[in-house]
Symmetry: D2
Subunit: 453 residues, 4 copies
């Protein structure tokens, strides 16, 4: 048990700072939660706590921009306490909670009544997205004013059964995004096409788990992205396509971007490290939307993570109960918990040179912060930013075990994996909330609202 985690001032010494722009050795001083000094050989006098990060990597705290913590309304799957404890053990100091809880976050009142109770349970900082659908686009500005950092639109079926928007709602929503600069995240699988292909495949009678791939072929993503991009070009909307899983989706994003559309792309660790063969081992456990396609899709996604076609990584943390995941492929729930393994998996890939280490803070901290209006408060190790840091031992190892996982249900395909790199400290606004396996005893996370509109 850690006591007195709130140091008035904290100095992290001699760490190797990993930033998107370079790697350097420097000290970082945090006073009252904010980085106030950086330098070489900073004085320790008057500092409440000094952490010696010699031989360690220091990264900005991770912003997991894509989590479904399931509270309120679906706490039987998992809850905010478990979720944010898992987050901090994984180096995540801020989560962006998606709005498809029960009730969905569709008006200012529901935003507030979701956000406030979480504050007493949050082990890390959190921000909230609102949802947009045909019925509430007129509330866009009000929901932002109430504290949403952005929106989610579900173009296809999802947990919570939010219907896809009409084309005119899409136009109206993206127009408002264009006028305000507020980002909209899209679950871009076309509802109608997904239903069409799923019925076709199910009609075939097969029950092999990998049939999930055929039930949601890449055209379902591509079609959805093409729609969004065509309207965003006209309206100057600001778009994030979440959980890109296919070459076709990547190409649609690339083309739109080359025509001047402000469109960003996210992918998730499971599309990068799992493959088609894993359905044999895990079955419905790795059922997720869009599906894990593997093969050449996986290769091109890894490439895109390295070369900047992909801008952000999110975990799409989406826990379910064992019962919901044990069913056959057509009945099982879609989603995998992942907030705790997001950074460990990305660190492992970088430490094995799949992409440069400097891509990690770009994908996991700086870009999400900029996208979601948290910049220049979160997302970077710089003067004036929140003192959110992760200290990593690059020579250490992370072993994914049931014990290590903080989820309510330990339903991870990664159990047993040994990953390069080990998180030593997680620091939130200058507070050491995780220290060598031990979690702080108090949930000190706060609700983060937009820096400005």
């Amino acid at each position: 048990m850690i006591h007195n985690v709130i140091a008035m001032s904290l100095l992290i010494r001699n760490g190797l700072l990993i930033t998107p722009r370079r790697v350097l050795r420097a000290d970082v001083k945090i006073v009252n939660g904010v980085i106030t000094e950086m330098g070489v050989g900073l004085s320790t006098s008057g500092v409440d706590e000094v952490i010696d990060a010699s031989g360690m990597l220091v990264l900005p705290g991770v912003i997991d921009e894509h989590v479904h913590m399931r509270e309120p309304g679906l706490e039987y799957k998992d809850d905010f306490t478990h979720g944010t404890r898992a987050a901090l053990k994984g180096g995540v100091t801020t989560v962006i909670e998606h709005p498809n809880t029960l009730p969905p976050v569709e008006d200012p009142g529901k935003l507030a009544s979701k956000a406030r109770p979480l504050e007493s349970k949050a082990y890390v900082d959190y921000a909230l997205l609102g949802v947009l659908h045909d019925g509430n686009i007129h509330l866009f500005e009000d929901i932002v004013a109430a504290g949403a950092v952005g929106f989610k639109i579900f173009m296809g079926p999802t947990t919570g059964n939010i219907p896809p928007p009409s084309d005119s709602s899409l136009y109206e929503a993206l127009s408002k995004s264009g006028r305000t600069g507020v980002t909209i995240a899209f679950h871009a699988e076309d509802h109608s096409l997904v239903t069409y292909f799923t019925e076709k495949v199910k009609a075939g009678g097969g029950m092999d788990p990998w049939l999930h791939i055929e039930a949601r072929p890449p055209i379902t993503e591509e079609y959805s992205i093409v729609k969004i991009a065509t309207i965003a070009k006209q309206t100057h909307g600001r778009v994030l396509i979440v959980h890109i899983s296919s070459i076709e989706a990547l190409e649609a994003v690339r083309k739109a971007r080359s025509e001047g559309v402000e469109i960003y792309g996210e992918t998730c660790p499971h599309y990068l490290v799992l493959d088609k063969v894993d359905y044999q081992k895990h079955g419905s456990l790795i059922k997720v939307n869009p599906p894990i396609r593997g093969g050449i899709h996986r290769e091109r996604l890894l490439e895109a993570v390295g070369n900047g076609l992909i801008d952000t990584l999110g975990s799409d943390h989406a826990p379910h109960t064992p019962e919901e995941k044990k069913r056959d492929i057509w009945s099982a729930a879609s989603g995998i918990p992942g907030v705790q393994t997001l950074l460990p998996i990305m660190l492992d890939l970088a430490l094995r040179n799949v992409f440069p280490l400097t891509r990690v803070p770009a994908l996991l901290s700086e870009n999400p912060a900029k996208l979601w209006g948290l910049w220049p408060r979160k997302g970077s190790i710089d003067i004036g930013f929140d003192g959110d840091l992760v200290v990593v031992d690059p020579g250490g190892e992370t072993v994914v075990t049931e014990e290590w996982l903080e989820y309510k249900y330990k339903l991870s395909p990664y159990i047993g994996w040994r990953l390069k790199g080990r998180i030593r400290y997680a620091i939130l606004r200058g507070m050491v909330i995780y220290r060598d396996g031990v979690i702080t005893d108090k949930p000190v996370g706060k609700w983060i609202r937009p820096v400005k509109l």
Copy 2:
């Protein structure tokens, strides 16, 4: 009154044949309805009738691929008798009748019960399109087997209130098109966006007729085309975008084509010869969907007609009653009758060198014939083709008057126009059905079914 129009054999001598590939002076002999001989100085011995076409242009009979004759169910607007008499006076020897009559042509039975009664009223040959919507795509092959030469899908609101297809219906329909090679014509204005913009503009309170343009901006066409093209690329569907009215629509077609999509484009005379200023004179009379935009859109469309980006011209003949057209811009019916002026207007443009004369048979005969499965029976002056010809005096003039127009209601914006060129004869399968102002006394048109599937 003409008697005995059915010549067993007919020889057209010394005319200048206008074909997409060249201009040449030659005789054409038609025996039992079919072109059997072409040549220089063909023998007249044993020929029933000889027409001397010296100094005349001979064109293949026009296929107006886009007419709404209003029968059955809407005969109060106009009917097949009036419509096909108007057609032949305009040099149209085949019409392709669109399916949004009452009831709509949505199953094999309705196709047959629409087609058969028309035979006794048809002054020109006719072919029928079926309509596709969410409820009948499984009947695609049956409707073709029953005699449809292709299909129409309405992406936006139209006379007859046929709802737009779901995305999966679109996919299914285009898949069937890809497998069978049957063309689908699209009224490509997005239903949802049209509604959205119309409500916005109406809410502004204005009643100026040209506000119709703002109620259906180019994005409504572009968005619709992008959707269709994305799915056609995947399914290899064969697509015609009818009544293209904007640069944005042209560009969307061009891009899709350069990516290998089999997509064709139609425009209509009213987009080429009317302009924004005409709303002042004609008001709701020229209300049509998509709207006449004029200006740079008109210029680029004329260019596209000349350079081949546009493949076909259709009249989009769509008559209404005077009462329906006299209302204010928001209440008036959309549509202009045009089957009789289609060729006269195109000839006038060509004779004034806006585009080459050889483009006329390409746009009005050969390309529609190929698109709609009438090739190699209709659409060309060649051995074995139907003897459908129009003989034109290039030095003559066509004056559009109420008397000349055969429509039930003379609601044409072209009344009073003087056009270069005068139609002297229209010949259908070797029968002279129009001769210097006089129409044949019998409706000899036939129902044309697909040459083969």
Copy 3:
């Protein structure tokens, strides 16, 4: 020996006419060299000769747009007599002779002094290209006036050592092409890059014949085409890229076309039917520029021939002596004779359904005629066109033997090949110049000058 080949009138009956637009059974009458009548059951009365083509295919005479007959100046390699006799046995009734003879056709005088002597040797009709280089672009119009149907520019090294043009000459030449509509054919291999890669590969010391591929990689074609297309876009020049051999070249043509450049593409039979493995068997015999690359390049070229990305086929008939071809790969002369096998190979591919039979007259007759200003005189079976026809027995077979080949030296990689289809008659302006193995006894070919400028 055939006597009296010049029939005043000739009737080909009951053949199946193969045209780019359709297949039909009809008779064709040729009077005084020109097609005067076509029809079903034409009268034979007064006709000098009737050929019964029942069960036969009738194609327009082939225009081999790419031959190097080697006369004048290089008759030791081959000559016009041998070349045009080979042509007619291969169904070629017109050849377009390229200008890199000795002296090269670089001014009006040299054009005339090349063209005139050939008339007494020509067994088929012929047209001539001029060459353009830094020294003679001011003569462009004069060379056309003297009778050239177009030009050739060598961007890379060739027989005759004509230096590549400077960028400004390229601009000037394409400007003149744009103003006059006269086509320029480009041997598009960049001179400088070819030299660079050849020296690199030779420096490696290898002598394997297939190293020729590495000495001229696709970038040498692509780079050259990109240059040409960039300038043609600006100047509206009319461009043919001859002997396309790679995917990269195809893609460069496709991109330029989608940006509105008037650019056409030719490939040659050897790129379609030979493959990398043939270097083992034939060595330097199949050394040609650009090189035969095989594999995926061959597949994509066959696809492009079918889908219209490739517009024309030429043989690039380029004979050399046995001594010149027997040398090692670096010393051997580049070029393969091919005028006699052009149509047989293409027919064989079509009869084996690699592409539709209707593509053959498009690629070999209509498109070359249009490209080189021979339209509407050559290239089609139509009233008013020259009576140039080939009658083919689709059930017969062509066996390529030394005896069959009319070349001075029988250096063909196709010896021993058995091809589907057999040419029965070749007819030039109504004269039967080839009849079941027997060649006419007189060279009746004529010099064809541009139809009009």
Copy 4:
């Protein structure tokens, strides 16, 4: 006269730091030339000098990546002493000197013999480019090893008459760039086309200065860029196109980039603030290559500076004598001095909101540093970087006068201009080299070699 400018430690307090990523108020401490601490309220104890920057903007020192200081060999035009004194008064703390001096920097020896003597004259830091041409590409690596930070290739005519490279040299040079990651800057005007158009325009006999525009139309830039990009795509070369002056050049860069080519674009202040009308006032004084085109080109360049299509700004500082600039437009020398006005003009545009202030350090410091291998030493206000800063009073004004200009000849079109913003201090590696109008008394600049290869 300033004495003792070398402070061991310097603290800039309370300034508003302007960085590409954000604006923040913080102190910066520089010790022994390097930024060692940044923070809020840093202690002043033990600091040798404190500059109070309250109310001031603090920018990273400008890297003018494009200067021709004319030494050695052309000192009659201007020299390094004058040039670097002008630089520092303009906030430029590092210049990248281009290689077309006499002799040109074409081998390691000439690099060293150019670089060393400058050290005693340099008032700011400097780096050197080598030149590449047909004769020295084999020396690429040696020239880098001798200290060049990159290369220049002249595709068109320039001061020093360096001939353009052959296509194979271009290929070889870009291959080496691809392998080493060393950037090549291209003067991208096609030599052959420039000559062609210039002769054409001169032949017209006109002497109006603006005919210079017609003598070098945009196709000369576009063609050159297309060549470079086609080869860079193949070789993975790293390309900077300097002094982009036209829409066509911008578009060529944009297209290449969207195909994955690593290509960057520079423009110069004179293309942004001068227009066609200025030829009337200034005549040959503003003759520069490529020409100032004004109008829509200027508008789109300003847009591109704002939206990131343009990556860097360089002055293309290119002084000549009054005699050389007073001649008629065809005889006058091309080039304008500009190192002193680069930052003042860009600040003025930003302070008038033409583009955001944060674009200034991106375009003038960070991007050039990254492009030329000076990162992470130059180009940013960050721990470990050189202490190169400019302190600007945003409420002040810069009046361009002959007295203010440090050039040998005061031949600037900007004389008399009043620009928003006033430079108060220029700091080089912690030394205050410019303080309120007064220049340091010693040339303390150093030769900067690549940070690493």
